[in-house]
């Protein structure tokens, strides 16, 4: 894992003290709310539906046991004993007191964490593949580039006041586990003639105008990624629609210009940038890369797994993924128990997972955009013990990528922007499909719920998506089908008129019945949808 150098630590410590002063001035009345709001947002502090909410950055979803334990500590000491892992691989605390915020940030800084740039019209937390560095199918570990981008984008003076927020994702495998093409810029690391570089995609996103990012470049060499991104951002910063908040994201600019014209402008700017020598020296990438070296795997770790306990065997089949190192496995921890809240974890659970990471996963864990957690380096011999410990705290659900592994935004239960509640609907759907055999029969089915058009719950990218809307003061739910955030990225299409909360659960059941009746061998739900189209599903739903 990356460790802060003295520059990183100084920056974060200075920012804490700056925010402490700003907070004191707000509480004393020296600053008005209009003056203070942009300052607190720059430090991840929102005023939400019920209270202040703090969004803590987890860069590219990677953290240590000590950092995880600190999250549990601040949840218990300063909040109400739990936190919410988000689709941006961050953690949100929902019940923060303003006067406590600087102390929380100071405590986080002691473990190299912060909440900087988790809000505002700047480059946000860089996201990446939760299997980075451990997956057998990746070209290289994408996290050194993600870390390089984190350093480049932190307090970048030119890109602190962009037309709108800006999200970047880096992956290094053909299988996209991070919804890369639904980011403002997506980088896929590839190899050409023995050299590492990046395919660059720009102008993706969800929200009210969902777009899949078109490819802007087939290959940018690793030495020039930073200056190429500078060029991408410069064109956007200059021409992005600052006149209209709803048209200010880069996806609108790329769409309005067309990908070819945007590319031409970027290349023109890139030619100019090249002469400026902005790329970091190779030694810096090498320094960062050294932080992500493989841990000291046991060379003779056994591949054997005792599957005699049927509950354990079921969990292994669902939650454990192949690791590049013989004798090791990747463990996915579901934060989607049937009666739970997607992405929520109590302080006790967070601390237990921190213990597991330290003891069994070389002190490392990951947060996924699907609101689950990952222990990336587990000896297969330790899987049974881990399963037992997870089971003790209600985290041994075996539902990864199944219909109950639901992405859901906080919705109207917590969010001031939401129009409808996502969580109770997720719970109703999970209950309806709770039977493990039924879930397995349905296979991979990614269901994603957003409580408003801002799409934090990624409904556009759901095999089944649900969008909550406000229909004359009453919650209403639109059903969408056929989306994907993976390498087969697609935007889901609305089926037709919306439903009540119970109505949409019934509609989902009808949709899954059509799938089961019409699928061919090996087809996932989304494959069947693509083959037979919307019509049979609509007929089943609306009669």
């Amino acid at each position: 894992m990356y460790r802060y150098d003295s520059y990183d630590q100084s920056l974060v410590d200075a920012r804490v003290e700056e925010f402490r002063d700003q907070t004191q001035r707000r509480l004393s009345g020296a600053l008005t709310e209009d003056q203070f709001k942009p300052l607190r947002l720059m430090n991840g502090l929102y005023l939400q539906l019920h209270a202040y909410m703090l969004r803590i950055a987890i860069p590219y979803g990677t953290l240590s046991g000590k950092q995880m334990r600190m999250l549990g500590h601040v949840a218990r000491k300063y909040d109400r004993g739990y936190g919410h892992f988000t689709t941006r691989q961050n953690l949100q605390l929902n019940w923060i007191k303003l006067a406590d915020a600087p102390d929380i940030l100071a405590e986080l800084a002691t473990v190299e964490m912060h909440a900087i740039q988790t809000s505002g019209n700047c480059i946000r937390n860089i996201s990446s593949d939760q299997y980075a560095g451990v997956s057998a199918d990746e070209l290289t570990d994408p996290r050194p580039w993600a870390e390089l981008l984190r350093q480049w984008s932190s307090f970048h003076p030119e890109f602190t006041y962009l037309p709108r927020k800006f999200k970047i994702c880096v992956i290094a495998s053909e299988e996209d586990r991070a919804a890369m093409r639904l980011h403002d810029i997506g980088l896929e690391l590839v190899e050409r003639d023995g050299q590492i570089g990046a395919k660059v995609f720009a102008g993706g996103g969800m929200g009210r105008t969902p777009m899949i990012a078109p490819k802007i470049s087939d290959f940018v060499s690793e030495d020039e990624i930073i200056s190429y991104l500078e060029a991408c951002l410069r064109v956007y910063n200059r021409y992005g629609r600052r006149d209209n908040k709803y048209k200010a994201r880069i996806k609108i600019l790329v769409h309005e210009l067309g990908a070819d014209e945007y590319r031409r402008q970027v290349e023109e700017e890139f030619a100019h940038m090249k002469a400026l020598g902005l790329n970091p020296p190779r030694e810096e990438l090498a320094r960062i890369r050294a932080c992500f070296a493989n841990p000291a795997y046991e060379a003779d770790a056994s591949d054997a797994i005792d599957r005699s306990d049927p509950g354990f065997a079921l969990w292994v089949d669902r939650q454990v993924a192949a690791h590049k190192q013989p004798g090791y496995a990747i463990v996915n921890i579901s934060l989607k128990p049937v009666d739970g809240i997607p992405g929520d974890a109590s302080a006790d659970q967070i601390e237990l997972i921190a213990d597991l990471a330290e003891r069994y996963s070389f002190d490392e864990l990951r947060v996924t955009h699907a609101q689950n957690l990952v222990l990336p380096h587990v000896r297969k011999a330790d899987l049974y013990t881990i399963w037992q410990k997870l089971d003790e705290v209600g985290l041994a659900e075996a539902n990864l990528d199944l219909i109950t592994d639901i992405i859901a935004c906080p919705g109207l239960d917590y969010c001031a922007l939401a129009n409808a509640r996502s969580i109770p609907l997720a719970q109703k759907i999970a209950k309806r499909f709770a039977n493990a055999q039924r879930q397995a029969e349905l296979g991979e089915l990614k269901l994603k719920i957003s409580g408003c058009i801002n799409a934090c719950g990624h409904h556009h990218a759901g095999h089944i998506g649900i969008l909550g809307v406000d229909r004359r003061g009453v919650e209403n739910f639109q059903l969408l089908l056929g989306g994907s955030g993976a390498e087969d990225a697609a935007l889901a299409q609305i089926t037709g008129p919306g439903f009540s909360e119970d109505g949409v659960v019934d509609a989902i059941e009808k949709v899954t019945d059509i799938y089961l009746a019409q699928r061919t061998e090996g087809e996932r739900f989304v494959d069947t949808y693509r083959r037979i189209g919307m019509k049979p599903f609509k007929e089943a739903i609306y009669g």
């Binding site: 707000r26 509480l27 009345g29 709310e33 005023l47 539906l49 019920h50 209270a51 202040y52 109400r80 019940w95 923060i96 007191k97 303003l98 006067a99 809240i341 109207l412 239960d413 917590y414 001031a416 939401a418 129009n419 509640r421 969580i423 109770p424 719970q427 406000d470 003061g473 009453v474 919650e475």
Partner: protein, 98 residues
């Protein structure tokens, strides 16, 4: 009726104007008539509230209930955490979100 709500500046708690001060219980809300905006300015300047705004509400048999579901959930607390709601005596959460 018109009622005034906002968040406590220091704690962030949802609060309701009760006529002579702020309450954490929506049932204590006073009808502010056409004085809401002026009250909001005064109270914000006094650092007792942030984001003060006037909303529509009704006086029902159960007490004061905001007109819009979003405001009713603000008054109740998250409907999925009955252990954290601001109305601990409330048995029927469903009545708040219809």
């Amino acid at each position: 009726m018109k009622i005034l709500t906002g968040n406590d500046l220091g704690t962030g708690d949802v609060i309701w104007w009760a006529g002579d001060g702020w309450s954490r219980q929506v049932n204590d809300s006073a009808d502010v008539g056409d004085k809401g905006d002026e009250l909001a300015r005064t109270e914000e300047a006094a650092l007792r509230v942030v984001g003060a705004h006037v909303i529509d509400a009704s006086l029902t048999d159960d007490g004061v209930r905001p007109a819009h579901i979003k405001d009713r959930i603000r008054a109740l607390g998250p409907t999925v955490r009955s252990d954290l709601i601001a109305q601990p005596a409330e048995a029927d959460i469903g009545k708040w979100v219809i």
